[in-house]
């Protein structure tokens, strides 16, 4: 809550959150991000291609992610594709968003208990 810079990004747009979550672990290319989101949400959230790239463009403009110039090992590398990774700012924003969501989940739990009682 301390960093006002972070607060201006919150709450994150759903697509942005999913994309950044996919990039939290490792660098990814567009297709990978899309697949990752599909798997993580059990096929419920699909990032449509144009939305995905539009979001990537804006995330880069907001300096939350950047294009990676390191390539993965040659045997898994797809030379035609661009890879993306979180920036330091992006990581902090993602953390802040996760905290915010956990806070929210806790609040929901409390009220659920109150309701069920």
């Amino acid at each position: 809550m301390a960093d006002p810079d972070l607060q201006s990004f919150l709450p994150l747009k759903t697509q942005w959150f999913h994309i950044m979550l996919s990039l939290a672990g490792e660098e990814q290319h567009g297709y990978g991000i899309m697949q990752g989101v599909l798997e993580r949400t059990g096929g419920k959230v699909r990032l449509w291609p144009a939305t995905l790239y539009g979001s990537l463009k804006r995330l880069i403009e907001a300096e939350l992610i950047e294009e990676s110039d390191e390539r993965p090992a040659p045997e898994v590398d797809d030379a035609r594709r661009r890879y993306y990774r979180l920036t330091a700012l992006g990581r902090r924003v993602l953390n802040a968003e996760c905290d915010r969501l956990q806070e929210l989940v806790r609040a929901i739990r409390v009220s659920q208990i109150m309701v069920t009682e």
């Binding site: 144009a50 990537l56 463009k57 035609r80």
Partner: protein, 901 residues
């Protein structure tokens, strides 16, 4: 699936260049990778979703690009405020004038009558007709669904309290036939409107008031219905209130109440002399609704036949032999019905004027954008070389043009609004209050806005295309001034300058002709100090006087007033001097009006009392003027005798032009002239007191006829005007008011003003017209000068190097100056010749189309001042505009220029 993929690829291709450079391949690839999976999991809906997604993103991408372009354009414009300001002012002036003209024409000529049902079905004859004829028209069920009679601009002296106390107010209304509201399709907002079933002759008088009357005079009182008023001294009951917005037919004359024609002549003196039954008392306007499926042309032909039949029933009717059309129908559903044939002419004239203004303004903008584009070639070349697409750059440049155009549009709206406020403050010197609508129409807003966007796009596209065409290598190698191909001969800029010069000269000449023409026909001078003459009006009949009592009053009033110390002379007239003529007459000098060889002259008719010319300090050129005896002549009532030839001839005074027009150089005094059934003996000739507007066939011919008891019994809408000359500096007015009050305290004195105030008012209208036209002309001139200066400055900048080399080789400053000026002068000469020819052609065409312009063009087309002066003025201004920037060429330092390489 393949189809969806094809669309997907096509859309992916359409993304902005910059986006595609980075994400294009990935985006295309991803689509191909997922399409099979999407089709499997989501079926057809998924494919649609896939395509919709990319389409939406495409739009969003372009929008964000546009936002960036806009930001960049605003920044660029702020950096060169002079350029932006000139562009905005040029376009603002152009669009302001256009919008103002557009909304005025729209409001006054083409707007549908407010508050009526289906205005497109309403028609009205061009000329007034008799009530009897309207009743006959009404019977033509196959042509007309309804026909009502009305007479507008009827004054009523209204006292709000029924007991007769309280000062009466002069209110203008309409006398209407009871089916008036049914024909117009107007429902009351309260109470009822008049209708033939409830308003019969002999019933207690009922009036319907407008929303305006209700609000302004009754404070929107909820008990207004059923309240009684005193109208011209008679009791009448308010039965209904018309809806807000409804202003009656022909609403340019203000109407506040509607009185049925079934009331007695004692209430409305307009109804005296049995006008409702006399076949030839053309006292009413007809407003008619076409039967379903009947066109205005077939109705016109049908009514023409009916009118011909009716005319033939009257043996004394002079028009029986007339072969011409007797009924001309106008669009009754418009605010100001004008002859249908006139509309295209009016539109064409205004179109030419407005088109010229706009063209000049837009050419200026285009010229400036072009010059600016040329100056920015290097910047653009650099941007292209680092990867900007041409399309992107064109978009960028056009955004700048559109931003300027839109700002210009706003400036134009502000100007148009200012003009409309200015115009609404002008009052016309007429007896009846005019209700001209000067408010800006929302259509005008849309019009101006569309115009600004279109001109912004249109006039920045060409320069943008040209600017971005530069070849990279050569542009980057050379300095900022790059040669444009084909500049010397027919370069776009040269064409623009020639067009601009020609356009502004045309504008200057046409507006100049109008200005000079108008001011010539409106030039009136008094031979005395106009501040010493007072004008006031009274209308005793509408204050409840009987005709006999009114006559007696007018008989003694001048003497009583003359007895006041400071009053020198007094005269009565049916209208204020130098006002718009109250009527016209077709006169012939022949004794027999049915003489085939007769020459007809249209003259303006003015009704004036004894001593009128003496009071105006006008000496009679020949003969005498009217005396009190002429005022007592027993005139037969208008058209009462079946055989008109027996009517008593009236004395008449002609002005010089009329005397010459009718009798040539022969002595007019003692001659006889006739109009229809009435004949006149010319008793005097007077100098031309020029007046009026150039709106009728030949307004400078005037016939004066004496004020008689008929005018006292049934005064014109402005009442009877009393003209008083007083000793300079004396307050005659107080004495006059006291004197009139001592005769009868209830007599309503209105329209009190000095002659100079009155003249000021009459000139105000012309002054606005002159200011507008003159302003348009000057505006064109200034714009053309700005344009030329810009072109020359640009030419100098472009040829710096060349001039530097020339000077290094020994060219003198004068030679360099001449070199630069030569180009400008050539352009100005070509433009002037074209403009002169164009203006002459337009004047010819307009004059031949209508007499409206012919009058003012005729007096001015051969004016040497204008024909020679305007081109000279333009030429001189153009030379100055060329010279100022050209002088800079002489200041070029050859060393510095050559070192810049």
């Amino acid at each position: 699936m393949n189809f969806a993929l094809r669309i997907y690829r096509r859309l992916a291709e359409a993304f902005p260049h910059e986006f595609k450079l980075v994400y294009g391949p990935d985006l295309g690839q991803l689509g191909e990778d997922v399409v099979a999976d999407v089709a499997r999991r989501h079926g057809i809906a998924g494919l649609i979703r896939l395509v919709a997604d990319i389409a939406l993103c495409l739009a969003a991408e372009y929008l964000s690009e546009m936002r960036r372009d806009l930001r960049y354009a605003v920044r660029a414009l702020i950096k060169s405020p002079g350029f932006a300001l000139v562009g905005i002012i040029s376009l603002g002036l152009g669009m302001g004038i256009t919008t103002s003209v557009f909304s005025r024409v729209w409001n006054q000529m083409f707007r549908a009558l407010p508050g009526v049902a289906n205005p497109g079905e309403l028609v009205m004859p061009q000329n007034p007709v008799s009530y009897y004829y309207i009743e006959q028209y009404r019977a033509e069920k196959s042509l007309l669904a309804g026909a009502a009679a009305f007479r507008n601009g009827v004054p009523f002296n209204v006292a709000l309290e029924a007991n007769g106390n309280g000062r009466p107010q002069r209110v203008f209304g309409q006398l209407v036939s009871p089916d008036y509201f049914a024909v117009l399709g107007v429902k009351p907002q309260r109470g009822r409107v008049l209708n033939p079933k409830m308003d019969k002759p002999g019933d207690a008088p009922a009036v319907v008031i407008t929303d305006r009357f209700w609000r302004d005079r009754l404070n929107a009182s909820p008990d207004a219905l059923g309240q009684t008023l005193r109208l011209n001294g008679q009791t009448a009951t308010i039965v209904g209130i018309t809806p807000k917005g409804f202003k009656g037919a022909m609403p340019i004359v203000r109407t506040e109440l509607f009185v049925p024609v079934t009331v007695s002549a004692a209430l409305a003196s307009e109804l005296s002399n049995d006008v409702l039954h006399k076949h030839d008392a053309k006292a009413f306007q007809a407003i008619m609704r076409l039967a379903p499926g009947v066109s205005i042309d077939s109705a016109e032909a049908g009514l023409d036949t009916v009118t011909r039949r009716l005319d033939n029933q009257d043996p004394s009717n002079l028009r029986r032999a007339d072969k011409g059309r007797r009924v001309t129908l106008l669009d009754g559903g418009t605010v100001l019905p004008i002859p249908r044939a006139m509309k295209p002419v009016v539109v064409a004239f205004l179109g030419v004027l407005v088109g010229l203004v706009l063209t000049i303004a837009c050419m200026n903008l285009a010229n400036m954008l072009l010059a600016r584009g040329a100056a920015r070639r290097k910047e653009i070349a650099i941007r292209v070389s680092v990867g900007a697409s041409r399309f992107r750059l064109i978009r960028q440049l056009m955004t700048e043009g559109v931003v300027i155009a839109m700002l210009g549009g706003f400036a134009g709206l502000a100007l148009a609004y200012g003009l409309s406020v200015l115009e609404s403050q002008v009052r016309l010197p007429q007896a009846m209050p005019q209700d001209l609508d000067y408010s800006l129409d929302w259509r005008a807003f849309v019009f101006a806005f569309a115009l600004s966007i279109i001109s912004g796009i249109g006039f920045s596209l060409a320069p943008a295309l040209q600017t971005t065409k530069a070849e990279l290598a050569s542009t980057l190698k050379e300095g900022s001034a790059v040669q444009l191909r084909g500049y010397r001969r027919f370069g776009m800029r040269n064409l623009l300058v020639v067009g601009q010069v020609a356009g502004s000269l045309m504008l200057l000449l046409i507006t100049g002709f109008l200005v000079i023409g108008f001011s010539r026909t409106n030039n009136f001078q008094t031979k005395f100090d106009a501040n010493t003459m007072y004008l006031l009006a009274i209308d005793p009949v509408r204050d409840g006087y009987s005709p006999e009592k009114a006559e007696a009053l007018f008989e003694k009033l001048p003497e009583r007033l003359r007895a006041i110390g400071s009053v020198q002379s007094v005269a009565l007239a049916a209208q204020a001097p130098f006002s718009v003529a109250s009527g016209t007459a077709q006169l012939t000098a022949s004794k027999d009006p049915r003489d085939a060889s007769r020459t007809l002259k249209v003259v303006a008719k003015e009704t004036v009392g004894a001593g009128y010319f003496a009071t105006l300090s006008e000496r009679m050129l020949a003969g005498r003027e009217f005396t009190e005896r002429d005022q007592r002549i027993e005139t037969s009532e208008d058209g009462s005798s079946a055989d008109g030839s027996n009517m008593v001839p009236l004395p008449a005074v002609l002005n010089e032009s009329a005397a010459r027009g009718l009798f040539g150089n022969a002595n007019a005094v003692g001659q006889r002239v006739s109009e229809d059934k009435q004949s006149y003996d010319v008793v005097g000739v007077v100098r031309d007191l020029k007046h009026g507007m150039a709106d009728d066939d030949d307004p400078t011919l005037v016939m004066y006829i004496p004020l008689t008891h008929r005018d006292f019994a049934n005064p014109p809408a402005g009442g009877v005007t009393i003209m008083l000359r007083s000793n300079a500096g004396a307050d005659a007015l107080g004495g006059v008011r006291r004197e009139i009050a001592s005769i009868d305290p209830n007599l309503n004195v209105f329209d009190v003003r000095t002659l100079s105030e009155h003249l000021e008012l009459s000139r105000a209208y012309m002054r606005v017209a002159l200011d507008t036209y003159g302003g348009i002309g000057v505006f064109g001139l200034v714009l053309a000068a700005i344009g030329l200066a810009g072109v020359t400055a640009y030419a100098v900048a472009r040829r710096r190097k060349e001039i530097g080399i020339r000077m290094a080789l020994g060219a003198r400053k004068a030679q360099v100056l001449r070199l630069v000026l030569r180009e400008g002068v050539a352009l100005v000469i070509v433009g002037s010749v074209l403009g002169f020819l164009g203006a002459m052609a337009i004047v010819r065409v307009l004059s031949s189309l209508t007499s409206m312009f012919a009058d003012s063009f005729n007096v001015s087309v051969n004016d040497p001042l204008l024909v020679v002066g305007a081109p000279l003025l333009l030429g001189a201004l153009a030379l100055i505009a060329c010279y100022i920037p050209a002088r800079r060429s002489a200041k070029i330092d050859p060393l510095k220029t050559l070192r810049e390489e």
